[in-house]
């Protein structure tokens, strides 16, 4: 009986905060748009039988027919993949340097990685607008050094979105990789060198495989939120940056088409289920390996 209660608590939590909202969104995605409050039909006040009769997959068919949507999905996937890779490229050396730093420095370095979280995410993204704009700090600095004669256009391009995503999600990449590298026994690298590896070979054959779990975890932690990212593309990206999070927002607030917006969200969730399941499997395997 006690066990039942213990198990019931997390399941009730999931049911109330995940499954029920999802079912509501899913129901809306099967509805039709209407100028009313709420802006869709049918509702349960219409009676049970007419309610179910009115539901259909029209909105999903619409998503498939209009190429805006699947282009936005593909573009989001591409941006999320590339920015995950870029975050890995930037984050791995930082995590490596942190793991190699003297013991007494590590808490400070860790603090520096987490420090940006003390400021609101929105303010930090706005700050990037100040840095990247035509009259921004970056352009002024480059003009001052004489490297460029014309200010660069970075803000409102996909490049700015990449910069924004890499900046925002960098700690999520660094921390799991650091955790993996920190546990790495230094004598393994010495053993590899002793057995004939150059520094680089030892890194490639020992350090990378042994930090694989950290790399995988970090990559998913960046990829999953980046795929549905809305704030960064809408603030830093221009009209040329097509991301599904932005499309969803526009459907919802600009077009007030809740059913289509819900359909977009349902598809996004289905896409995300794959990496989430893979991520969970990686975590589980890591936990098993440590036993």
């Amino acid at each position: 009986m006690q066990r039942l209660i213990l198990i019931a608590v997390p399941y009730t939590w999931l049911l109330a905060l995940f499954l029920v909202p999802f079912l509501i969104v899913f129901k809306i995605s099967l509805s039709d748009v209407e100028l009313a409050i709420p802006p869709y039909t049918p509702t349960l006040s219409d009676g049970i039988v007419p309610f179910f009769k009115a539901l259909d997959f029209e909105n999903f068919a619409f998503l498939a027919s209009d190429d805006l949507y699947w282009k936005a999905y593909l573009s989001s996937l591409r941006i999320a993949l590339i920015s995950t890779f870029l975050t890995l490229l930037v984050g791995y050396p930082m995590a490596y340097a942190m793991a190699r730093a003297p013991e007494e420095w590590r808490p400070t370095l860790m603090m520096l990685v987490i420090l940006p979280f003390w400021t609101s995410f929105l303010i930090r993204v706005y700050a990037w607008m100040g840095i990247l704009s035509q009259e921004g700090f970056l352009n002024q600095f480059l003009l001052w050094t004489g490297l460029i004669s014309e200010p660069l256009t970075i803000l409102n391009t996909t490049t700015a979105v990449y910069i924004g995503i890499v900046y925002t999600y960098l700690p999520f990449m660094i921390l799991p990789i650091f955790a993996a590298l920190d546990r790495l026994d230094g004598s393994l690298i010495e053993a590899a060198e002793d057995l004939g590896c150059s520094r680089f070979q030892a890194f490639w054959l020992v350090t990378i495989p042994l930090s694989k779990n950290g790399i995988v975890a970090g990559s998913f932690l960046v990829f999953i939120p980046a795929l549905g990212e809305f704030v960064i593309p809408s603030l830093l990206g221009g009209s040329g940056t097509l991301m599904i999070g932005k499309v969803l927002w526009e459907e919802f607030f600009n077009n007030r088409d809740w059913p289509v917006a819900s359909a977009v969200a349902v598809i996004l969730l289905l896409i995300l289920i794959i990496p989430i399941v893979l991520f969970q499997r990686n975590q589980q395997r890591q936990a098993e390996a440590e036993q």
């Binding site: 004598s187 010495e190 590899a192 060198e193 002793d194 004939g196 054959l205 042994l210």
Partner: protein, 375 residues
């Protein structure tokens, strides 16, 4: 023709495999190795023995290439190895933690070093099989390091470091993580493998029994200096200093003043009341020079009555008896307060033991039993 004794260190025509020449290694203010000169010969099983922090591991790491000497030269087969990086040295190391690659199988761990060269695949396979057989690990080739026992891991580490047939194998506390029984068995296994492969082994250990068992020569180290290098028997029977005598095994040290009585024979006045002791020494002492007489407990006899023709005989009372099964150690207090340990083999059952606490007994030893040391 009788088989010659393996003792290249006594043969002037032999070239040492490793030469430390005036090597000093400092870490900041701390001097880990202090102006050290040492030769190690081919096919030796050489033990570096000392308390932790004496610099033995630093010496090993310099041989492996993980540290460079602050000054002085280390030669391997006549060549200065300072500029050679670890991956280019014909030296392999077995790490104290074994440092097995957790993501690779036993087979791949052993093959790791071989794959770094241009060895053909078939040859790698043959060599790994040979190593697996040598270390009796054939059944575990496919397992990962975390799926085998500590003793098996130790053998994988040994096989991996031997696979490349190094000129020199370094073993850093190789048996430290094994329990006593397994450690003893493995010591003999190590000696066997060393003999079979003919590789020069340098072992670092703080366990004097281990060093005595496996090594052809032992270097006793203290604070970055070598106190004595000799065969295990020599180190035990003819220590050159009180430090070495005390570090290796159990010893009684009696302080006194020497006075020569004949050629190489001395009398040692050690107490105001008792008769002086007689000792033979190759090392010359002048009249009145302070000296230490070092006698191993097993060379001290214990008797109920004064033995008639002993060179040295002293009377005392038994303070303590340490019963170790095969032997018993008696702690006997002499009139001046000096405590002398005497050991006897327990050839009889305990119930018929001849001495007990508070008994007055006589201790005796011959003039050649002890070693007379200046310091």
């Amino acid at each position: 023709m009788p088989e010659s004794v393996f003792a290249p260190w006594n043969d002037a025509s032999q070239k040492p495999l490793i030469r430390f020449r005036n090597v000093t290694k400092s870490f900041g203010d701390f001097t880990a190795i202090d102006d050290l000169t040492l030769d190690i010969y081919e096919q030796e099983f050489f033990a570096l023995l000392g308390p932790s922090g004496c610099g033995k591991t630093t010496m090993m790491r310099m041989l492996a290439g993980f540290e460079t000497p602050t000054s002085g030269v280390i030669e391997l087969a006549g060549q200065d190895i300072a500029p050679v990086p670890p991956n280019k040295r014909a030296v392999n190391m077995m790490f104290q933690s074994y440092a097995l690659f957790p993501h690779l199988s036993v087979y791949e761990n052993i093959a790791f070093g071989l794959r770094r060269g241009n060895m053909p695949k078939q040859d790698i396979d043959d060599r790994v099989s040979e190593m697996l057989k040598l270390t009796r690990l054939e059944k575990f080739a496919r397992r990962k390091p975390h799926q085998i026992s500590g003793g098996q891991r130790q053998r994988v580490a040994l096989a991996r470091s031997l696979a490349k047939a190094p000129k020199l194998l370094l073993l850093d506390e190789p048996l430290g993580a094994l329990d006593a029984k397994l450690r003893q068995a493995t010591q003999f296994e190590l000696m066997d493998i060393q003999e079979k492969t003919g590789t020069t082994f340098v072992i670092v250990t703080h366990d004097q029994e281990e060093a005595m068992t496996v090594a052809s020569r032992v270097a006793v180290m203290d604070e970055g200096r070598i106190m004595q290098v000799a065969t295990p028997e020599h180190i035990y029977e003819v220590p050159e200093s009180v430090y070495v005598a005390d570090f290796i095994g159990d010893v009684n040290i009696i302080k006194g003043a020497a006075s020569p009585v004949g050629e190489q024979t001395y009398q040692i006045k050690w107490s105001k009341t008792a008769a002086p002791l007689n000792a033979v020494s190759d090392r010359p002492f002048s009249e009145g020079q302070s000296c230490h007489l070092a006698i191993r407990p097993e060379k001290v006899g214990i008797h109920a009555d004064r033995p008639a023709d002993a060179d040295n005989a002293v009377q005392g009372t038994i303070l303590d008896i340490a019963y170790l099964g095969n032997i018993s150690t008696y702690h006997v207090e002499l009139p001046g307060g000096q405590i002398v340990k005497a050991q006897t083999a327990n050839t009889r059952r305990v119930s018929r033991r001849s001495f007990t606490w508070e008994d007055t007994v006589w201790l005796s030893w011959t003039a050649t039993a002890g070693v007379l040391l200046a310091q």
